[in-house]
Amino acid sequence: MNSALPSDPHGLEERIALWRAYLLRRQSIRDVDVDELEDHLRDQAAELAEAGLAPDEAFLVAVKRIGDLDALTREFAREHSDRLWKQLVTSGKSGSPAGCSAGSEASIVLALAVVAALAIKVPALLGIPMEDGNELFYIRNISFFVLPCLFGYFVWKRRLAPRACGKAVLAFVAAACLANVYPFEEGSATEVLVALHLPIALWLVVGIAYTGSRWGHSADRMNFVRFSGELFIYYVLIALGGGVVTAFTMFTFAAIGLEAEAQGLAQRWLIPCGALGAAIVAAWLVEAKQSVIENMAPVLTRLFTPLFAAVLVVFLGAMAWTGNVVDVDRGILIGFDLLLVLVLGLLLYAVSARDPRAKPDAFDALQLLLVTAALVVDIVALAAIGARISEFGFSANKVAALGENLILLVNLSWSAWLYLRFLRGRGPFSDLERWQTSYLPVYAAWAAFVVLAFPPLFGYV
């Protein structure tokens, strides 16, 4: 049968490959369906060629007889409507290290999740129970229960050489020592700052493992950003489910008069162990689904960018109209910082999901508006912090807020400039992407600085 298709003198193989690719772009048609259709196509072409047609003519006629591809796609979609809903299959066919079956990945993830879940119970065995005013100890150390497991998962998944992990392990150990050796005063601001900044600094270490030691590449860093966003969303979803499980546990046990026991079970085991184990499971799910399901973070970005742009513009307008200045207290400053982080997140995920080759559109203009509004808000917040510092002097909280605002200011202003250049057709979008990915270490460096230097600088208060 293949006699009509010798070693491709008429570019037939190439045409068939093109035809295959064209069909495969349709969601309702799978690889195996195209295999089946291709077998048909080749039979038909061979028969036509035998009847005297030139091979390329035979191919064209055979393609035509397969029928209108849109109609065919519709028929396939009607028969396989489930395919339009992409399905998550955790049968690690892609991405798993060679020679590892899907089952072994699942068991490794499960083992790591159990390790993370049980790790949080270890301090209690060593005489630091979860209650009795030790909450801050747990909050400060939370990174050390979960991040090493996550790190281990990526070391396994990306097949990192043990030698490459040395520095990372060193970073974990050093951070764990510092966080617990510093003689914090009771209820000190620096202890809270360390607890807040430690996960940010160590997240970079996870990122280096995630990229498989290709941290230097902008594209790999961007993948890590995407991973982080999806992980967050999956984690929130799993946490919602965990809340339902907890509620039902309490309810059913209360029904048989074991209310106090159920509360203890939930508080001491269910919630802390579940919260840590879930992080590993969420990471695994994100890894498994990355090419299968639409990323949620960019979808949410699309939804909320216009809303936040509107809110910021209206806020600035109201401030200008009434002449009211920002009333500075700690809560408000933290609120502004969070707002800027959120805007940065919107920017980052918009950048991560955008085709860098696409032409500027209205959404890009909206992004620029959002970034500009955030910049103005940032400057207002900076002025307020500056006024407060000059009035009351430096404190750990104010310097931390100042540093974060400055870092965001630099990022947002350069982003705004790059966006403006892009919108005016003076520069490529990839500049913006590269700027965002090369800025990532700055956040980690600042967080590490706060963790390392703030407690001694401010006398552990």
């Binding site: 049968m1 195996v32 369906d33 089946e36 259709l37 077998d39 065919l72 396939f76 028969e79």
Partner: protein, 116 residues
């Protein structure tokens, strides 16, 4: 003569089941057999056969497997299942009723026109 779309669609299932009841076959060969049986009068759009095959497979009336053609190419073969055979018997009865009814009325009509 071109046979209408609805009729082609309606006759597809019994035809496929009947052809597969002769023995295991595959897409292209099924179409060849249809052309042969109808003397080329029953024309299907080739591609449309496959969604129908997949539907019958989902319904459990036929069963597919991946095999190799004579030239070593990947090919999907289908054969009829017990359930498919029962379905074919039922469809055959239905089509016979339609066929006889139409035969009767057309016979009566030709009688009437002969008498007139």
């Amino acid at each position: 003569m071109k046979i209408g779309k609805d009729l082609v669609a309606a006759s597809a299932t019994p035809l496929i089941l009947a052809i597969l009841s002769e023995g295991e076959s595959y897409g292209y060969a099924i179409l060849r057999r249809v052309a042969e049986l109808s003397g080329g009068r029953l024309q299907w759009t080739d591609g449309m056969l496959y969604p129908v095959l997949h539907r019958l497979e989902r319904l459990g009336q036929i069963e597919g497997r991946w095999g190799k053609s004579a030239s070593g190419r990947k090919r999907r073969y289908y054969r009829i299942t017990a359930q498919g055979t029962r379905q074919l018997v039922a469809l055959r009865r239905q089509w016979q009723v339609v066929n006889e009814t139409l035969g009767d009325i057309w016979f009566a009509a030709s009688e009437a026109s002969a008498q007139a």
